[in-house]
Amino acid sequence: MSVELPMPLSKAPGPSDSPPGHACGSCAVFNVANLERLGVNTASSDFVIALAGNPNTGKSTVFNALTGLRQHVGNWPGTTVVRAEGAFRHQGAAYKVVDLPGTYSLLSSSSDEHAACDFLLFGDPDVTVVVVDATRLERNLNLVLQILQITNRVVIALNLMDEAQRHGISIDTRHLSRELGVPVVPTSARKGRGIPELLEAIAQVAQGRTALKARTTARLAPVVERSVSTLAGQLSAEFPGLANSRWVALRLLEGDPSTERAVRDGSLGDVDRQHSARQRALEAAERTAS
């Protein structure tokens, strides 16, 4: 069995304060130290997947569908408060899934939202799957767009498609995917539909096989844009491995205490560049071939 290995790009990984994803394929970072600090044991897995989304989008159902873990699925906001973990194998590679608390955004000050934001920022998962309620897309996109400012290794699981159909809502997933710059997979996790496609999309993004387009971030007022760019530049100079300096800059300008703390104690610079996604894919391939 032959395995398609992605071709190495000529551009060397380096600091970047352009929106994340421009050189994504070569620049993915395996964040061992931080992940372990956040309580995730990465020893037996090749890729770490974060599962995010608004409360009440069927995220737990997607989690169960991916990992087969028997967990209670509730239909009321706030059920998924504790982070759960699971794992699955796909085409020879081992994936670990971290289920983040359901949150409406990453900007609020509740502990749920902190936990989710911290994990995305410092844990730097290989793929972030955002579960979105197809029947309430507008509100759900708030979180998606925020996450896209932190990372663009994202796969959107457009869930509850059966409900959308029932209510006469139809979504042009291709247009959505183009707008967001990331794969959008329609799913109906309760009915088990769309899961194979979701797994495939996750694998593709994790192994750097999908070309992810840079998304033009939300247009900011010029004076704000200037401040963000300046600060982002200073951040990138101080913390070379930081891929989402614009997000951090924005949080600092807003006066977010936990971001200030991260800058002060240097944990922002802990992003460890041990492995590249390619190397891990190589190791995974070797494992299956042997």
Partner: protein
Amino acid sequence: MSAPRILESATRLRAELPRGFADDVVASIYDDAERIVRHSVTSDSKRARLGMDQVLDRALTHRVWGFVVMGVLFYGVFWFTIVGAALPSDLLYTLLVDKGHSSLRGLFVDLGAAPWMTGLLIDGVYLGTVWVVAVMLPPMAIFFPLFTLLEDFGYLPRVAFNLDRVFAKSGAHGNQSLTMMMGYGCNAAGVTATRIIDSPRERLIATITNNFSICNGRWPTLILMGTIFVGTLVPAPLAGLVAAGAVVAVAVLGIVTTLLVSWVLSRTVLRGETSVYTLELPPYRRPQVWRTIYISLVDRTLKVLRRALVMAAPAGAVIWLISNVTVSGPSLAAHLVRAMDPLGMTLGLNGIILLAYLVAIPANEIIIPTILMLTMTLGPLQYGVQGGVMLDLPEAQAGTVLIQAGGWTLLTAINLMLFSMLHNPCSTTVLTIWKETGSLKWTATATFLPLALAFAVTATTASVARLAGWV
């Protein structure tokens, strides 16, 4: 640029920015979202979308019907649990307790095991374990799937919506109505459910007061008391209704206690800011009935089995030991009963009841069997019942034993119901509280505050009843 200088730079830049710029950032994200949705989503009939949901909501949050439906649904859940569990419980009891116990006993005797070992392991450990399994497994296996189905359907947020004002006025978090309801199945589950309350202060209030939700393990005690002592006060046709009414009254009292204690806590030791509370009413969704039932069933079964092994087994051993270990003549149990009788009398109960509650901290469901056994072995009348072996009796017989041998009165029964509702949580719940709060201080509070309340209330009713000459 070093870290401190970056922070300085941020502060400087921030000063130059317009004051509401953070709002603008959020607004711009939503503008983006709106634009994307406008181009990607087409909605067929916006009205039809909300049609069914609107009809349901109109009924379920109606000024009158909302509460009627709530009452009917929850009464229905309890009724279904009790009735549905009766047959499986009987079957399990016959299999594990009647047949299992005597078979195992016979086996041990045949093998020539020492009487104390047979007693300790079979009459104590084995009996305690299977008793809990037989009594608890069927009700839990029915209550939780039903509750989960309601949750999956989307009904529970509506309950929180209906009851919010009452809880807000009591200084409690809006979601406490939901954790309270969960406690009616099992208090440990209710405590775990408090995770949905974000603020630690309000979460503690919900945790401490969860005990006043009458868990599945305490219903048998209440139902028995209601049937034997309260139902018999009225003519036979009404007996069942009145007995049920007594149980409901105690349950309602539990809710009142929850609100009162929440109110007191939120104004004294757990004072603080009301946290930001938003309740979303999700669309109603057809629950995946079989899958939910299956998962809930398996989950609950495992939990009951584990609890039976970890908590009830040692409790069974302790019960056998205190009844069979003698200290200069009488058994340890007899000594303890005599020591606790004065306190028991003050509370309108007796020493046997208090001893039973002491040894049955792990499991409320073995209270009545233990009381019966102790009454029949330590009381004035001879029944030929073995010490340390829990037993069950049909209601009428149980009533006779308690009244004749135990000297129970209506006061005893009522105070037992009150004590059962108010007293400290079972050991599984205490352990859960400790795990969830990580605080010895609050775990102790959650354990001893209800006990103190139980003492206070029963002592008061006993004194009032005696002073008024009713007893």
